[in-house]
Structure formats: structure tokens, C-alpha cells
């Protein structure tokens, strides 16, 4: 690990603009050990008053320092936003969930092995260097929204549920602002080193959830082992039914792109329809129309199709296939 200056912030006003923020540290310290990240200064924000979950209008405001474990167990999250509890509980380990924060989880970096290995070419780590993942081992890589410059995925689970819930990210800085989670993470295009809209001098202070929408909540995660592994693909679903028809469907997908993926056309084709295998196959077809495999991650295309169909069958009360 490279040397750095350790600073501790006593208030938001106290934040030095040039320092890298640390809270849970679960990803940042790992990246610093690999020297993929080498900040000159770290500012510890864990003493800031950002660790509350509070009602706001009809929704909920989650402080940036609320730990993943506390958020997953929060009674209002469990009752009104269970897809978020389920996504959090599907991520990492008990120890890491006790450390990881809501803000930090949004800022976590990809787990692309070529990004972590400094001997490998990586446009994200070293802009212009090329991408060793393309043509390499791509089991964990993107099938949606990737570019010739970067095929890395955003690895988290929490943000996928937040995407389905239409969450908004609260940002403080020279000009405080709110950014829908939909717009917070960026696709790689030709600047994969720019992963979010957060600018230098800005900090995430929390996440706001709109009023609960009810419905059936599901988080289906497919991974290489039963626990403590990143998603190959995941599906966050909030599905409402009325008179035997789908009244609403919010669907977000993890492990398949550089951001939690969501496609309004998929949801539009489901709205107002009676659940059926033909309908779900049509939704999956629309979702996967822009999909592109990069070698061995070809398997993710049928895996995502089946995961979506299985999640919709479950959430709409259709019987499980034998």
C-alpha cells in the first residue's frame, strides 16, 4: 500500500476537496493493498451524522453511513421495501455487511480481474492502455451496455434493488443536488475511468426512496456458489397484480452491465397483461435484444432470460416449473 495522509472529518463543511473518502473501507482498502488505487490523502467520514434512516414525505431517507446489515434488518425496509433487504442479504458476508455503507456500496468498483491486476491493460485503471478482458477470461463480464473500451460490470446487489425502487442519490458539495440512481452510474463508452456522475468535491449524503408501491418483491441472484459470491446475473423485481393482470412491473438487473440495468420497454410489454410463459418470453426477448456476448460470457444471455422468466413466474404467482 502506498503512503497516504489520514484525515478525519468532523462535519460535512470540514471535507477537504482533494481527499479520497473512506467509510466502510471494504473495497477501497482492498484496492489500495493492490495499489490499483493510491490516494495521497484519505478522509474518514465515519464520525459524520449520516447514519440514520428517517421518514421523508411518504418515503424514506437512508443516510450514506447506514451499514448494509442495519439497512437489511431495518423494520421499515423489511416491511415496505423487502426487495432491498433481500438484495443486501444476498451480498457479501456478515462481516462485510457490518462494515459496508450505503454510500460506499454505490461507489464500489468493478471486480473485473484485469482491473485488479496492474500487469494487465485496463482502460479503467489506465485510460488509453487497452482492455485485456476483451479476448480474455470473461465469465463475469457485461452483456449489456459494454463498449470496445471496457466490458466490466458494476458488481453490487443493493443498487440493483434501489434501481427497481426508483431511488434518488442525495449529493452534497459546492451545489447540492439529487440524482436519480438511474443516472448515477455511467456506461463505459470511451471513458470507462468515469464511473459515476459524482464530481471532485462532492459526497453522497444519502439515498431517498419514494413512497412504497406494494406488490410482490423478489431478488433472484445466480452465482457460482450458494453464498458470499458476486452475481453472474441478478433480477430485482417489484410486481403488482390486479384482477389477474400485471398492474406494474419494475425490473432491474445486476451482473450484466456497468450499472444496474433497467429497460422501460420490458416493463411496458408486461403492464396490463395476464401472466403467461409466452408473455414472459416476449419480455425477455426485448430485454436481450441489445445483448452482446464477449466470448465465454455467452452463457449469461440464456441465464438472464431464464432468470427473468423464473422471477416473473414467482412474482405473479404462477406455479414453479417442475
Amino acid at each position: 500500500m502506498r503512503e497516504f495522509t489520514y484525515l478525519r472529518a468532523a462535519s460535512l463543511a470540514d471535507l477537504p476537496a482533494s481527499a479520497t473518502i473512506i467509510a466502510g473501507g471494504t473495497n477501497l482498502l482492498d484496492l489500495m493493498k493492490h495499489e490499483v488505487m493510491a490516494p495521497d490523502a484519505l478522509v474518514d467520514i465515519t464520525r459524520l451524522d449520516l447514519n440514520r434512516v428517517e421518514s421523508e414525505d411518504d418515503g424514506l431517507r437512508i443516510g450514506a453511513l447506514v451499514r448494509n446489515s442495519d439497512l437489511a434488518a431495518h423494520p421499515v425496509i423489511r416491511r415496505d421495501y423487502p426487495v432491498l433487504s433481500r438484495a443486501l442479504l444476498a451480498g457479501a458476508s456478515g462481516q462485510l455487511r457490518n462494515m459496508a455503507t450505503t454510500g460506499g456500496n454505490l461507489m464500489q468498483r468493478t471486480r473485473c480481474p484485469y482491473f485488479y491486476d496492474r500487469r494487465m491493460a485496463c482502460n479503467k485503471r489506465d485510460p488509453g492502455a487497452g482492455c485485456a478482458a476483451i479476448g480474455g477470461v470473461t465469465r463475469n463480464h457485461a452483456i449489456l451496455g459494454a463498449s470496445d473500451h471496457c466490458i466490466a460490470t458494476y458488481p453490487g446487489d443493493m443498487a440493483v434493488a434501489l434501481r427497481a425502487l426508483d431511488a434518488v442519490v442525495n449529493i452534497d458539495g459546492p451545489a447540492p443536488r439529487q440524482v436519480p440512481l438511474a443516472d448515477f452510474h455511467l456506461l463505459p463508452d470511451d471513458t470507462p475511468e468515469i464511473e459515476t456522475v459524482l464530481r471532485p468535491g462532492e459526497i453522497i449524503t444519502g439515498v431517498t426512496l419514494p413512497a412504497p408501491v406494494g406488490g410482490q418483491h423478489r431478488y433472484r441472484k445466480v452465482r457460482d456458489r450458494a453464498s458470499y459470491a458476486f452475481a453472474l446475473v441478478s433480477v430485482a423485481a417489484v410486481v403488482g397484480m390486479e384482477d389477474g393482470r400485471i398492474s406494474q412491473a419494475a425490473l432491474a438487473f445486476g451482473g450484466v452491465a456497468a450499472k444496474p440495468w433497467r429497460d422501460p420497454e420490458v416493463e411496458a410489454v408486461l403492464a396490463g397483461q395476464e401472466p403467461s410463459d409466452a408473455l414472459f418470453a416476449e419480455a425477455a426477448e426485448i430485454l436481450l435484444r441489445p445483448a452482446k456476448a464477449w466470448g465465454e460470457n455467452q452463457f449469461k444471455i440464456p441465464l438472464l432470460r431464464r432468470s427473468l422468466i423464473a422471477t416473473l413466474r414467482d412474482a405473479t404467482g404462477m406455479e414453479a416449473k417442475p
Binding site: E3, G25, T26, L29, S69, S93, Q95, L96, M99, S227
Partner: protein, 174 residues
């Protein structure tokens, strides 16, 4: 830099490089080698300690960030002549072979049982509202952050169930 750690009921003043993890501070500065370094990247759980009663990976914690907290290591949970219930059950159930992961397993299990007592659900819970059985599936899921290269998992689960007072006649009753 000068830091103060509150550890196992005592206070220690240390002079550390800012890069020092809590794990290295424990082992190299304080001579408390019960906490083990396995992967040093938060993947194996051998370094698990309790901070303010919550289990965390000490390898991914900077010592200087743990200054205000109460830290408990395996040495603080019990001693050879006064074992904690989990320590005793790991002995009784042969919950280890080489023993390297054991301090992390026991610290993690200590925190995990508190999480169940607090009513926290897990990925393995059928309902987010509980009740949460001490079934094999629940314990395996909740302990997935602790790897055992000897694969003593069956005995580890048995030790944890016994320490928690689970009824073995209803192993997987939910």
C-alpha cells in the same frame, strides 16, 4: 501517528503508520496473535474481531479508524481456564483440524448469534420477519464469510448450534 485502542477491556497507546490495519496492529504491535491473517483481503474471515460487539474483518479496517471503538479479539472472549461457551463447544465438537481459522470462526459466531438474537434475517430465511431457526442452512449462510480449508464445517455448525442451545432433535425445523 499516535493512536489509542480500547481492546479487551484495556487501553493501549500505539505509534503506527497510517497504513496499519487493525489486524497488523493486533498481531505486530500488541502481540495478540490469536487473530489470524489468512487472505488479507476480506475473503476468508480468519481475521474476524468484534468492534462494538459487531463482527468485522480486521484486515480491511485501518487501526486509526477504530480509535473510539471497543474491540474484542479471541483473547478477550475467554481464557484457557475460563472458556466462552462457543470456545468450549468448538473443543467438545472437534470444530477444527489445523485450527488456523478457529479464532475467526468463534469471533464471527459470537457476533452472528447476537445478530440472530437481535432478529436480523439472512439470505436463507424464508421470511424476513422471522422467526429464525438455528438450522444448518441458516448457520451455513450466516457463517459464509468464514472459510475453513480443513472443511470442518459440519462440526463447526454442530458446535455453534450447541452453544446457542439449539435442539439437535429438530435439526432443520424452521
Amino acid at each position: 501517528m499516535q493512536i489509542t485502542l480500547h481492546l479487551n477491556g484495556a487501553t493501549h497507546d500505539l505509534d503506527v503508520d497510517a497504513r496499519t490495519t487493525l489486524l497488523d496492529a493486533l498481531r505486530h504491535h500488541l502481540g495478540l496473535t490469536g487473530t489470524k491473517k489468512g487472505c488479507d483481503h476480506g475473503q476468508c474471515g480468519a481475521c474476524t474481531v468484534l468492534i462494538d460487539g459487531r463482527r468485522v474483518n480486521s484486515c480491511l479496517t485501518l487501526a486509526c479508524m477504530a480509535e473510539d471503538a471497543q474491540i474484542t479479539t479471541i483473547e478477550g472472549l475467554g481464557s484457557p481456564d475460563r472458556l466462552s461457551p462457543l470456545q468450549q463447544q468448538f473443543l467438545d465438537h472437534d470444530g477444527f483440524q489445523c485450527g488456523y481459522c478457529t479464532p475467526g470462526q468463534i469471533c464471527s459466531a459470537t457476533g452472528m448469534l447476537e445478530e440472530i438474537a437481535a432478529g436480523w434475517p439472512s439470505h436463507a430465511s424464508a421470511s424476513l420477519e422471522g422467526p429464525f431457526a438455528l438450522s444448518h442452512a441458516e448457520i451455513a449462510e450466516r457463517m459464509s464469510g468464514n472459510l475453513c480449508r480443513c472443511a470442518a464445517y459440519t462440526h463447526i455448525v454442530a458446535a455453534i448450534r450447541q452453544a446457542a442451545g439449539a435442539d439437535d432433535r429438530h435439526e432443520d425445523a424452521a
